[in-house]
């Protein structure tokens, strides 16, 4: 039976040699290699739950009055988009489960990409010949951020409307092209033309997912064609030989276990842990805002940056040249993106290392890289944390103005301190290893000497 299937496939596709090779592809073993896989599986859940949501969601700003089953909103004027999102939450059976799972999956998707990127960075996995795989990965991270932003903007609740207003201001602030570009995107000054909702919708449900899906395929193809990197757990793992577990039968149940674990966590969260209760925020109107507004976690670094920049526009001859949101909302993420993309080549220039690398570094093996990475990460994280200073004010009573001034200093000093400490730690760890190795060697020599003495 199995043999007949194999024969059938081979005759019609000629693909059996390829399948056999795929089944015996080797996966080196380390827990941190699973982070990228978590992102992949979260993406699968996102597509599945997303398709379900499209069957009920209405991407339209047409005005309507709510008469659904959630009493506090009854009689309120709102957009069809917001109404259909509230209906998904209350009147579509299983709708709320799928909506919340979709939202959780988006948060986990971006989180796992970020952790994966951190792992790739600190182990030097991006080095020759895997720079392209890395570049595609970084691009996917930024596409995922935009895709997530579009997703929660579509709902047209109060928070998403405020988020869109900020996005609009950031787009406007881009020198030279900002105003015209935003008019093309929004079709009209904010809140925009009704067709803006169709544009956001098609971008969120088709254009971005297809691009991300295509890049995932390319990313995985490149990973497989150059094979996985590996840590050196044992001496037979070298730059030329890899040791690992084959896809089938060894790796397959592990991977499936991870997939089902990811799905389990996401659906449990979706069912049991409330996320973005849009019916509490109410519909968005330009004249409304709320205090304590926070975006999804993965945009926290941008809100932090927008808040930290001191108040100035670059004005020349009564014309604004660079409006303020540009610095935190556009320049900052672009700097992070460009720095990440350029890093493999920057490092190559710094170290002059042009060799092929299949064996990963431990962070301590490359103290300078680890220091730069730790400093860079601290910079982004501190700006991220600064985005929550209004919450710190509410919960801890620390002066908001004082916090902002502290962060304005800290985001520049902190990275230097952390980078230096990371460098020192790496050097220290390596020295400890060298001493240990020396001791072992000395003991062996002593033992050998004792033996020869005994033999004599």
């Amino acid at each position: 039976m199995i043999y007949r299937t194999i024969r059938f496939l081979d005759e019609r596709t000629g693909g059996v040699p390829f399948i056999r090779k795929t089944l015996r592809y080797l996966f080196p073993d380390h827990w941190s290699f699973l982070l990228g896989e978590v992102a992949l599986y979260a993406f699968v859940v996102l597509v599945g739950t997303g398709i379900y949501l499209t069957l009920f969601f209405e991407p339209s700003t047409a005005h309507t009055v709510y008469h659904g089953s959630y009493a506090p909103l009854r009689g309120l004027e709102m957009s069809e988009a917001y109404k259909s999102a509230v209906d998904i939450s209350f009147d579509v059976k299983a709708g709320l489960l799928i909506r919340q799972t979709h939202h959780w999956a988006a948060d986990v998707f971006v989180a796992s990409i970020v952790l994966h990127l951190i792992r790739i960075f600190f182990t030097g996995a991006y080095r020759r010949p895997r720079e392209l795989t890395y570049v595609i990965g970084v691009l996917m991270l930024f596409l995922a951020l935009l895709e997530g932003y579009l997703g929660y903007s579509l709902v047209d609740d109060l928070l998403s409307g405020m988020g869109l207003a900020i996005g609009y201001a950031v787009a406007l602030s881009i020198p030279f092209v900002g105003a015209n570009m935003s008019l093309l995107i929004w079709g009209h000054p904010f809140p925009g033309d009704p067709t803006f909702w169709s544009r956001m919708y098609i971008a969120h449900v088709l254009i971005f997912p297809v691009i991300i899906g295509g890049l995932i395929a390319l990313h995985l193809t490149l990973v497989a064609s150059r094979h996985h990197t590996q840590f050196r757990h044992e001496p037979r793992q070298t730059e030329r030989r890899l040791v690992g577990v084959p896809t089938f039968p060894g790796q397959a149940p592990r991977s499936l276990a991870l997939f089902f674990a990811v799905a389990a966590v996401l659906f449990l969260l979706g069912g049991l842990v409330q996320i973005n209760p849009i019916w509490l925020w109410g519909p968005y109107h330009v004249a409304q805002g709320t205090n304590g507004a926070q975006p999804d976690w993965y945009l926290g670094w941008l809100i932090g940056a927008l808040r930290l920049v001191p108040h100035f526009d670059v004005v020349i001859a009564h014309r604004t040249v660079v409006p303020n949101p540009f610095w935190g909302g556009a320049l900052f993420p672009v700097i992070v993106l460009v720095a990440l993309l350029a890093w493999p080549w920057l490092e190559r220039r710094m170290t002059g290392d042009r060799r092929l690398h299949n064996v990963l570094d431990r962070p301590r093996d490359a103290p300078v890289r680890t220091a730069i990475g730790a400093g860079f990460l601290t910079w982004v994280i501190l700006i991220f944390v600064a985005g929550s200073s209004d919450r710190a004010y509410v919960f801890l009573g620390i002066s908001y103005v004082g916090q902002i001034w502290a962060y304005r200093v800290l985001v520049w000093v902190g990275p230097l301190v952390v980078g230096f400490l990371a460098w020192r730690t790496c050097i220290g760890l390596r020295r400890a290893e060298e001493i240990e190795a020396d001791q072992e060697r000395a003991e062996e020599e002593a033992a050998a000497a004792a033996e020869t003495a005994g033999a004599r």
Binding site: Y168, A169, N180, E239, A287, R319, P323
Partner: protein, 338 residues
């Protein structure tokens, strides 16, 4: 090791011996179906099999609970559905872990990394590229023409994108529904009277009979003691009875200014301020909306007011500057009334 051939017992030094051994091996493999194994053998583990079966059946049970809950529409459906399908997935996941630890052979195989380069193929490819163009004499000219065609056609395909919005016309950013004489109304459409505006709180006002969903529409209105006002000299008479109106849209990122800081602790926060909750841009209503903290780069536009003969609040003109977030080239000029 899977890659090592099992030749023990068959080793013969002579060629004939080898041949016979090979034939015998082939015959054995054909006849009894016994081949050299690819996946090494492992010990069976009947207990682990039982555990995996039970876990998978448990998952099936949870999935059935999901269906039943859905069909019967249990109260707290979202929670039950999430729990049922989540536990089902979790049980399958655990079953897979049992499989991978106890029931599936985990081999550690060695393999060469693929060759990083194929120098010969590279040379061949280069040759193909070079030789294919051997009939063409004016390569540059042809390349230039192809480039011109590609960029012109590309441009032609991009040009319709200009239909997406007004192109190279940013005048609409200066549109405002306010003009002299327009009444200020509240959310319910009721006109504001000067007496309605009390000190210590703020009011949201809209232009009567205009679209409210545009940035230039909403106002924030406050009353302050006339003696406390420090308005610019050219705004004399903009705040009758100390009533001030500002655009409600923050000049930083376009959020609505939803906070009015009326100080409770004079030592810490000495003056009232309008605050945007998005990035905490803070404006001083007494000084014509100047920025006193936060990232906003431009003052809050002020709308001149007048009190009509019946005590109603009306606009006395248009804003002092453009409303909403700044853009490249925005000028500090009064908006135009629509």
């Amino acid at each position: 090791m899977a890659s090592e051939r099992e030749t023990g017992g068959l080793a013969e030094v002579t060629l004939w011996g080898l041949l016979i051994a090979f034939l015998a091996l082939l015959g054995l493999a054909r006849g009894a179906g016994r081949r050299e194994r690819v996946v090494p053998e492992g010990e069976p583990d009947r207990r682990a099999e039982l555990v995996a079966v039970l876990l998978l059946l448990g998952a099936a049970g949870c999935a059935v609970v999901f269906i039943v809950a859905y069909v019967l529409d249990w109260p707290d459906l979202t929670q039950y559905l999430g729990l049922a399908i989540g536990v089902a997935f979790a049980l399958v996941s655990i079953a897979m872990i049992v499989m991978s630890r106890r029931l599936v052979v985990t081999e550690e195989i060695e393999e060469e990394y693929p060759e990083p380069e194929h120098p010969e193929e590279q040379q061949k490819l280069l040759q193909v590229v070079h030789e294919s163009g051997s009939r063409i004499t004016r390569k540059r000219l042809l390349g230039g023409a192809a480039g011109a065609a590609a960029s012109a056609i590309g441009a032609a395909l991009i040009v319709p994108a200009a239909s997406l919005g007004p192109f190279l016309d940013t005048e609409s950013f200066y549109d405002s529904p306010w003009r002299r004489g327009r009444r200020l109304v509240d959310e319910g459409g009721r006109p504001y009277r000067a007496d309605d505006i009390e000190e210590g709180t703020f009011y949201t006002a809209y232009p009567q009979g205009a679209d409210r969903e545009q940035l230039a529409a909403p106002l924030v209105v406050v009353r302050m003691a006339p003696a406390a006002l420090r308005l610019p000299a050219d705004r004399r008479g903009w705040a009758p009875q100390g009533i001030l109106a500002y655009s409600k849209i923050c000049t930083h990122a376009g959020c609505a200014i939803a906070l009015y800081r009326k100080p409770l602790f004079p030592e810490a926060e000495p003056r009232p301020a309008l605050v945007c909750p998005c990035h905490y841009s803070t404006f001083d209503p007494a000084k014509g909306g100047t920025v006193i903290f936060g990232p906003a780069g431009r003052n809050l536009p002020q709308l001149p007011l007048l009190v009509d003969r019946r005590g109603g609040l009306r606009a006395a003109g248009n804003f002092s500057g453009p409303v909403g977030p700044s853009f490249w080239g925005v000028r500090t000029r009064r908006p135009r009334s629509t």
